[in-house]
């Protein structure tokens, strides 16, 4: 029997980017805020000490700071006719754990989605007709526009100190930036990172091909910066231990560097770590959340009453908590009815490796979001008519690291071991570079999340089941993008190339991306969305759900910029809600 604790004004589940931003902004207004985080507390100074942080085996291979599957994992299958099995060891994606969440180990690519992305269904039909939409799709427009989100993108970029070059300020195209981006009020708070040799080749080749390369927006920041919360960051040193690692330099934007130092000083804020929320508790009529139940590290159960519950875990675990709490009707692909778990989407990865006769790319001098990108093939920036697919990809030349357990590229046909392998590893370490395409994934009837009937977590609760595969539309798109990448890497001077097509069926084994989206999507229609346009639950009005779980489908970008913008967008609505509680949009 759970023991009841004193009531709080706001209960936050998960202390990553979204949880820490909301906690700070709400505690600042004098509200009593408690954040419950199932992982440990983490500080830059101690957890990512410069004497321990750069350790490839510990972090990138053994996953020391990540969620341990033993604590929670998912089951997976490619389609509803198969039997799902647990993801026993992380592979394709890698959820974070502890304070900072995924905002701690991310690469730091901080994009705004394009204006068309927010009304992709309407836009595609208007331009190409119904026939362009793929079979079985459940693509839907976002309930919010780029223009509405613009000030909130800006706010997140200012808090995170993002380094980049604007391409469109108030409608005026800026040389050197992304000419396809939506209009911005102002430039990024800090200038772009420096780029490496491969990026200079890419920029030259792409420009000569008539494409529009620009430095990608980065949360590994280029210069010392103090954000609006008074938190200070230091310049990136291109150490090459970024994604999958915490940053010892205070150079990567994260809750630790950008929010927590200000947040902990708020006298009405308290964080409890090693506390796993098991359920959002509801009133008898199921229309109001009364708080949450959580289990501490000893297995002891507590009830934390609260007036407002903000669900701020990683996207997948937001969905599971809603399913376990009975908030919103679970999605059923057979009938197409229900909403929780609907429209799970992911990201495609494809591209081409280029092998150069004579180059020193120095791949180890790198940062998680160092790179030059182009958006000529993203969203609907090109004519989809001849191709018959929906969606697009950002194409990038980047080195994020040269850590050799994982990074020792060899040309096709190289033996996997022995002296010939060793020679190829030595010869190619400096001479290989990649041009990659990170693409959108649309939403489909049979790509979804629900509770697994067989497998349980250590607390006896069902694991979530992921049913997902890349559909023909995504395969066509990603493979077409791989060819574009190959054209560019050849133009950069590669003597030979290796085309990386999209791997199908989707497999949990190779790492692909931790851009898991959907499952608790926002929308204007409660029959096809879990949340209204303010990220408020349609069913339980004092529950708001942050994160990429709200995306109706995924765009050809990393999600964090949009997650940050949605958080500030929702914050504005939450402040309004607090003055006059109730549904912000009537059903």
């Amino acid at each position: 029997m759970a023991r009841r604790l004193p009531r709080k004004d706001v209960v936050i589940v998960g202390l990553g980017w979204t949880g820490s931003i909301l906690a700070y902004e709400l505690a600042r207004t004098g509200l009593d805020v408690v954040a419950l985080e199932r992982g440990p507390w983490r500080d830059t100074a101690s957890d990512f000490n410069i004497g321990t942080a750069p350790d490839e085996l510990r972090y990138a291979v053994r996953h020391d700071i990540f969620l341990r599957p033993k604590q929670e994992t998912l089951t997976m299958r490619n389609n509803p006719s198969q039997t799902a099995l647990p993801i026993r060891k992380w592979g394709s994606f890698l959820p974070g754990n502890g304070v900072g969440g995924a905002g701690l180990h991310w690469n730091g690519q901080t994009w705004r989605f394009l204006p068309d992305d927010f009304r992709i269904r309407s836009h595609m039909i208007e331009r190409y007709g119904q026939g362009i939409l793929p079979e079985g799709n459940q693509i839907q427009d976002w309930p919010v526009s780029y223009d509405e989100l613009e000030p909130h993108y800006d706010r997140f970029e200012q808090v995170a100190g993002i380094s980049g070059k604007a391409g469109n300020i108030k409608g005026k195209i800026q040389p050197g930036g992304n000419p396809f981006e939506g209009a911005r009020e102002r430039d990024y708070p800090t200038p772009p990172l420096k780029q490496g040799y491969a990026q200079s080749l890419f920029t030259k080749a792409a420009t000569e091909m008539g494409l529009h390369p620009f430095p990608r927006p980065s949360a590994n920041i280029s210069m010392a910066y103090t954000n609006p919360y008074g938190c200070s960051m230091a310049p990136c040193t291109y150490c090459g231990f970024c994604e999958w690692f915490g940053c010892a330099n205070y150079s990567k934007s994260s809750p630790q560097t950008c929010v927590l130092p200000a947040l902990v000083r708020e006298p009405t804020f308290e964080a409890r770590t090693d506390c796993e929320v098991t359920k959002i508790n509801l009133s008898g009529d199921g229309k109001t959340a009364t708080g949450v139940t959580y289990v501490d590290a000893s297995g002891e159960e507590w009830e934390q009453p609260g007036d407002l519950v903000l669900v701020c875990a990683f996207s997948l675990f937001n969905v599971r908590l809603l399913l376990l709490s009975g908030i919103g009707k679970p999605y059923d692909p057979a009938s197409g009815k229900g909403v929780v778990g609907r429209n799970y989407a992911y990201q495609t990865g494809s591209g081409a490796l280029g092998f150069f006769n004579d180059a020193k790319f120095n791949p180890f001098a790198a940062a998680g979001s160092l790179g030059v990108a182009l958006d000529d093939y993203n969203s609907d920036n090109f004519d989809h008519g001849p191709h018959g697919f929906v969606g697009g990809a950002s194409i990038t030349s980047a080195h994020t690291n040269g850590r050799p357990i994982r990074y020792h590229p060899t040309p096709p046909g190289t033996p996997t071991w022995g002296s010939a392998w060793k020679k190829a590893v030595k010869d190619n370490y400096q001479r290989v570079t990649n041009v990659g395409a990170q693409g959108s994934v649309m939403s489909y009837r049979n790509n979804y999340l629900d509770l697994d009937p067989t497998y349980k977590d250590p607390l006896g609760r069902p694991l979530m089941r992921m049913t997902f595969d890349y559909q023909p539309n995504e395969q066509k798109m990603a493979n077409w993008m791989a060819e574009r990448c190959q054209e560019i890497v050849k133009a950069m001077g590669a003597s030979s190339t290796k085309l990386n097509r999209l791997g199908v069926p989707w497999s949990v084994v190779p790492y692909q991306t931790t851009h898991n989206t959907g499952g608790a999507v926002m929308g204007n229609d409660p029959n096809t969305s879990v949340l209204n346009r303010y990220l408020q639950s349609w069913d339980v009005s004092n529950v708001f759900v942050m994160g990429a779980s709200a995306f109706p489908q995924n765009a050809g970008y990393n999600p964090t910029g949009t997650v940050g913008a949605l958080t500030y967008w929702s914050l504005e609505a939450i402040l309004k809600y607090l003055k006059s509680p109730g549904a912000l949009v009537s059903r």
């Binding site: 033993k70 291109y238 902990v264 090693d274 180890f364 071991w417 022995g418």
Partner: protein, 282 residues
């Protein structure tokens, strides 16, 4: 009296604020029961400390949530380093198992014109120590049943066997195969025969008695690459042999100079978490 420090997590909270009372720091104000009286509510005072201590006195079942409020709970020089591997002997392998692994990794990454290989890099010691830690037991993985007989390839790892079991059973099966086929152990085979056999294990063409040849190959292969390229603190990559082979400068953590000089060779020697041999013992 039960000292709060005893009930805290191993990572007892230290407090960064140097103006704080030493007693407050010692007792780790940031760890307490969530229903306990909060010293934070009363500011950083002796009274707050006494309230917190009192709360811990009346509740004896342990402090199992860490509570952070008012200050970031780190203290100068706090870090969570890994324990450096001390080479010498084996903690998991028997002498004959170690000999098989050593011979195996010596063929995977041989010493040759390009320099030393996995054996010289201490990869066998690396694997031995990894097997004694959480990796060896798949301690962090989801190992609850049921285990499927027919998993899809896209579903990844579905074996019940931990790395320790894979090595113990796999090496025994390999030795049984070698004794039956060649009348001697794997380590005693000629290099060319070892290479042929390893290639057969990799492809699954060689059938070991009651053990998947691919599973054994994959375990040793992955661990050999790890041990050749991981920081030397784990017992492999001795003298940063693997890093020198490719030209990885290690953990210097600042390559602003390299970014400023594109397409130029990097000439400084690598540095590991424990420094470089030239810097002496650490």
């Amino acid at each position: 009296m039960k000292l709060p420090a005893k009930a805290c997590h191993a990572r007892t909270a230290g407090l960064g604020d140097m103006t704080m009372e030493s007693a407050d720091r010692r007792y780790g104000r940031t760890s307490r029961r969530p229903d306990g009286a909060s010293p934070a509510r009363h500011g950083v005072t002796r009274r707050g400390l006494l309230l917190a201590t009192a709360a811990l006195l009346v509740t004896t079942s342990g402090v199992n949530a860490r509570v952070v409020t008012k200050v970031l709970p780190w203290k100068p020089n706090d870090a969570y380093p890994v324990a450096p591997v001390v080479p010498g002997g084996y903690l998991f392998f028997t002498a004959s198992e170690a000999a098989v692994v050593e011979a195996f990794v010596d063929r995977l990454i041989p010493a040759d014109d390009l320099g030393p290989g996995a054996k010289e890099a201490g990869v066998t010691t690396f694997i031995d120590r990894q097997l004694t830690g959480p990796y060896g037991g798949h301690d962090w993985l989801y190992m609850a049943g049921p285990f499927s007989e027919n998993p899809l390839p896209s579903q990844g790892l579905q074996s019940e066997l931990t790395p320790r079991q894979q090595y113990r059973m796999g090496i025994a099966a390999l030795e049984a195969y070698c004794k039956a086929t060649f009348n001697r152990g794997f380590a005693e085979l000629a290099a060319a025969d070892q290479d042929k056999l390893i290639a057969g294990l990799e492809k699954g063409a060689v059938q070991l008695p009651n053990f998947s040849s691919k599973t054994l190959f994959t375990a040793i292969y992955n661990n050999a690459i790890e041990g050749f390229f991981a920081d030397p603190i784990y017992g492999g990559n001795r003298d940063m042999i693997g890093w020198k082979l490719v030209g990885f400068p290690g953990v210097r953590y600042d390559f602003r100079d390299v970014i400023d000089r594109p397409n130029q060779a990097y000439t400084l020697p690598p540095v590991s978490l424990q420094g470089r041999p030239a810097w002496g013992e650490r």
